[in-house]
């Protein structure tokens, strides 16, 4: 073959034909793709969505309210009318569990918001400021952490009465501590990176550096921590209610439901199993989603 047949000059439009690059994806697009490929996380996510929808709309369409008693039908077995049967007062267990889901999810939501706002900002400021400010802020955190949360939850209950508001307040006081510590650590290491110095030299304010450069880069870690903190808060509420320091009858939380059914556990064990199952499924779902997010948002996977 002649040289001419082997080699020929490329036409102008052909020159870019071999341009190789990964498809441009935003950070969230890439994370979502990653998350979708994780079956466990996806199932967890779907279960969570179902739980949320049931908690919001279930009680609206249910024929009974959570405290509607039917003395003629006590401790009934599951039936078409009462899917999970009734309790010792003749109240529909399924409807009560739906109401319990509302309380649990409310507690979880508040915990998430507190974590995101207080935990993130507190940890972010401590980590960014460093030095004495950091020292003082972290010692305050240590003090809050060293007092058993049970103590102030009981105190709050005594002051404001046993209500959903009191227990949410009690849990909010301490649930952001872990988040603050994690964010502080993350910010401290990000602060040493050159892009933070670049932003400083460009004249960026501390607020801009903290929010746009440090916290934005810690976002993956923050989202993961939130999804792992929410089930913890839900569990705390259930556990406190079970012990009798939380929400009290006739209001229905999963903890109180389990507590109510406990006296009849030998006769009607299923009455205890339903609320416990609800707690388990919810917490598992949150943990699966958290795990999935942790993998999907890990920046090391992409570089």
């Amino acid at each position: 073959m002649t040289e001419e047949a082997l080699f020929r000059k490329l036409e102008a439009e052909e020159k870019n034909d071999e341009f190789i690059a990964v498809e441009s994806q935003t950070f969230l697009q890439a994370a979502w793709k990653n998350f979708k490929s994780n079956k466990r996380a996806l199932v967890g996510g779907i279960v969570l969505i179902v739980i949320v929808l049931l908690a919001i709309f279930g009680p609206m369409v249910a024929p009974y309210s959570y405290d509607e008693q039917n003395m003629a039908l006590r401790n009934a077995s599951p039936s078409a009318d009462h899917w999970f049967g009734t309790d010792k007062m003749g109240r529909d267990i399924f409807v009560r569990i739906l109401y319990g889901a509302r309380i649990s999810l409310l507690v979880g939501l508040v915990a998430a918001v507190v974590n995101l706002i207080i935990g993130t900002l507190y940890g972010g400021i401590a980590g960014y400021a460093g030095g004495k400010v950091d020292m003082v802020m972290m010692r305050i955190v240590d003090i809050i952490y060293s007092i058993p949360s049970m103590l102030y939850i009981v105190l709050i209950m005594l002051m404001f009465g046993a209500s959903v508001g009191s227990i949410v307040l009690g849990i909010s006081i301490s649930c952001w501590i872990d988040m603050a510590r994690i964010v502080r650590q993350e910010v401290k290491s990000l602060k040493e990176q050159e892009f933070t110095m670049a932003a400083f030299v460009l004249g960026a304010s501390s607020k801009r550096i903290l929010v746009k450069h440090l916290l934005l880069n810690a976002m993956g870690q923050i989202i993961v921590t939130v999804t792992l903190m929410v089930p913890q808060a839900i569990f705390t509420e259930a556990w406190l209610s079970f012990l009798g320091v939380g929400i009290s009858a006739p209001q229905a939380s999963w903890g109180t439901l389990a507590q109510d059914a406990r006296s009849l556990i030998q006769v009607y064990p299923m009455q205890t199993v339903y609320p416990m199952l609800a707690i388990c499924i919810t917490i598992f779902a949150f943990n699966f989603v958290g795990e999935g997010l942790e993998k999907a948002l890990d920046p090391k996977r992409k570089r």
């Binding site: 892009f195 110095m197 004249g203 960026a204």
Partner: protein, 345 residues
Amino acid sequence: MNNEAKTNVKPLLEVKNLTKYFPAKGGKEVHAVDGVSFTIEKGETLGIVGESGCGKSSMGRTILKVHEPTGGRIIFDGEDITDFNHRKMMPYRKRMQMIFQDPYASLNPRFTVGDIIEEPMIIHKMGTPKERKAIVQDLIETVGLKPDHIRRYPFEFSGGQRQRIGIARTLALKPEFIVCDEPISALDVSIQAQVINLLEKLQRERGFSYLFIAHDLEMVYHISHKIGVMYLGNMVEFGTSDDVYKRPLHPYTRALISAAPVADPKQAKEKKRIILQGEVPSPLDPPPGCPFSGRCPYATEKCKIKKPDTYEYDGRKVACYIYAPENVKQYSDAGKTPEEAVFLK
């Protein structure tokens, strides 16, 4: 040029006796920068060379007030900015910028290229969003990237491309003075030339002044008008790049230049290398005398006790007793230059 005219021309940047100590464990201090003085004129490049840990980068960062200076003065365009706070620095931030060493760490990984280049203009409230977008487009092309790169993320680019993004970000503010903190040491040799050519082109077109920090002597000689040699936080020699590179005066500069590799093997064989003994002293506990006295083959007792001043000799500044006026006179009385008298003995 007569003396009067000389004093009327203000240097763009004047650094006087700049000192930066970092606190260390046990109440000690790291003497990162220990009394450095120099000037940079408009449109000029000052190359700073020295081995790792000699305080080059700390000096560059202190000039831009990333670190608060411990002592000395920083005078930019006639204004003493040493004690300026964040608010007062803002107009100067626009004029004094920095290009970073590590193109992988100096760009926020969560920002698109467009966001990165636009950010300085947002910070300084320059233009409307539409105008800013146009400037970003323009800058992207100035540094040799493609317009469709704007929506991409830094991790999709190579080191050289990222360094260009960093340069575009700096250009967005239209600065006059840029600290280049080893901007090419993290890049491949072929890419180094591209980035250097870009920096030189920008200097020609826009009259930038550079403080070019590097440890590659050849490169610094190639790009700089003046060279400053640093050792253990001190500027030991400062002069025009031809003078310093072709006729080094300070014993440390001589050793440094003799250690630079030569491309031609024949020349390399003939070349005499000065091998230094010992190690760089710790900046935690610098020697009381000349910082180089412990390793200097020509050191005398005096060198080990008292730190030499910076002497003017042959149009440049050298911090070595060999060039002290009384010694120079003594040598010239014997009919020799100090170099002949000391180094060729």
